[in-house]
């Protein structure tokens, strides 16, 4: 039996004792190297589920294992340093240059200076930005799409095995977004990492995911390959999601 990258066992999250389950008894397992997209409307629990993996939130019940290890037993700071984390607002530090931003975690880990420099150049090339041109700029001098590329590079800095991406392209215009999606797929293919990508955009979810997890009211409605979901929607929520997407398609065809 191969080791699972991520496993959820009966994981629940309530924000208050009496409150509803934001994440409701979720069981799932994810293999190393998969690109999982988590699709759901706002309030479905998708972001909460993601943030429990790097212990920004603690589950109310249940356990989460990363490569067979229960993360509740590991220091949260150590868990997080093994996981890349990208958020919609990017959160680049405005008082640091691009190079310093990317070098944040390597510096925390006290990498030698030449190794950090080399890694920064390598990462900038990886995300398609010329190191010479961008290294010494400040985040405010970059476009939204460029900033998110830096966000990606920063998250990849110490080569984490798992990447968590919380609607990373949510605030980016449609054309740049398509470019970034393609590059993210290219990156995933070349890196052999496990990606978890939260989105509320159905096209994005089905385009990027090797498997798509559809969440509704804190529960996983369906977790399968895009093809299987399209062929056999598991419940009425998934069917209605498919229908809405098809309707949109027809709308575009009608305009043609």
């Amino acid at each position: 039996m191969s080791l699972k990258a991520i496993e959820f066992n009966q994981v629940c999250k309530q924000y208050s004792q009496s409150g509803d389950f934001v994440v409701d008894h979720v069981n799932l397992s994810i293999n190393e190297g998969e690109f999982i997209t988590i699709l759901g409307s706002s309030g479905s629990g998708k972001t909460t589920l993601l943030k429990m993996i790097n212990r920004l939130y603690e589950p109310s019940e249940g356990t989460i294992n990363l490569f067979g290890e229960d993360i509740a037993t590991i220091d949260p700071v150590k868990v997080r340093r093994k996981i890349g984390y990208v958020i919609q607002q990017v959160g680049l530090f405005p008082h640091m240059t691009i190079a310093q931003n990317i070098a944040t975690v390597p510096k925390l880990l006290k990498w030698p200076q030449p190794k950090i420099k080399e890694r920064v150049d390598e990462l900038l090339n990886l995300v398609g930005l010329d190191p010479k041109e961008f290294k010494n700029r400040y985040p405010s001098q970059l476009s939204g799409g460029q900033q998110q590329r830096i966000g990606l590079a920063r998250a990849l800095a110490i080569d984490p095995k798992i990447m968590l991406l919380d609607e990373p392209f949510g605030a980016i215009d449609a054309i740049t977004r398509l470019h970034l999606q393609d590059e993210l797929m290219r990156l995933h293919g070349g890196l052999k990492k496990t990606f978890l990508f939260v989105t509320h955009d159905i096209n994005e979810a089905f385009k990027l995911g090797t498997r798509v997890m559809i969440m509704n009211n804190g529960k996983v409605s369906q977790f399968d390959t895009p093809q299987s979901i399209v062929k056999n929607p598991a419940d009425s929520f998934v069917s209605s999601l498919m229908r809405s997407s098809r309707e949109q398609e027809r709308f575009w065809e009608g305009l043609d």
Partner: protein
């Protein structure tokens, strides 16, 4: 007035130097204490609220009363003045420091935490550099208030420009009153200006 200054220069620069010395000592001690208290306050919300509440109560005590209250413990003189001024400063410094540090864009805090920064790393590498404005406004406020309040400390034999003022009042010497007021006001304005320049210098390093 000019004549007075030319005739008795030592009567002006001595209290001025004393005042400066008091200011310097008070600000150094205040900053060290405020830094320690702020670090403690940043560990939990209840602690920071309690601290602010406590210091706001002390801050509401008139300075002359606090000087008088401390005389039986620390006696007349500089020590009492330093203790009282440092305590007053804590409210001004802590309120600005804590508000500034908590006011940093939450997305940056989330990104930094998610990357695996510890609480202290988050504080010193993200929160502090991103709240220089609030840190400096606390520092300026405390410095100017110290300069003003230190004049009152002359009443408990702590020296400084206050002694010039009170001497002048007692002997009805207009020159002393005018010079005392002028010098303490200028000291406050100049100190404020220097701190503004320092703040600008630091912020030039991070264009926004």
């Amino acid at each position: 007035m000019i004549e007075y200054a030319l005739k008795h220069p030592d009567k002006l620069w001595k209290p001025l130097l004393q005042h400066l010395e008091l200011l310097l000592v008070v600000m150094i001690v205040s900053l060290i204490l405020a830094a320690l208290l702020t670090i403690t306050a940043m560990t939990s919300k209840p602690i920071s609220n309690t601290m602010l509440h406590l210091f706001s109560i002390i801050y509401s005590i008139p300075s002359l009363a606090l000087f008088a209250l401390l005389i039986p413990i620390t006696g007349l003189g500089k020590i009492t003045a330093i203790v009282v001024l440092v305590i007053y400063n804590q409210y001004l410094l802590l309120r600005n420091f804590i508000a500034g540090l908590n006011d940093v864009d939450p997305s940056m805090i989330e990104a930094a935490t998610g990357m695996g920064m510890s609480r202290m790393q988050l504080l010193f590498q993200v929160r502090v550099p991103l709240s220089t404005k609030a840190l400096f406004s606390g520092l300026r406020l405390a410095s100017v208030s110290t300069i003003g309040m230190a004049t009152i400390a002359a009443l408990i034999n702590a020296g400084g420009l206050g002694s010039l003022l009170f001497d002048g009042l007692r002997t009805m010497n207009v020159n002393k009153i005018l010079w005392g007021s002028l010098l303490s006001a200028s000291l406050a304005i100049v100190t404020n200006g220097i701190l503004i320049q320092m703040e600008k210098r630091i912020q030039n390093h991070n264009p926004s």
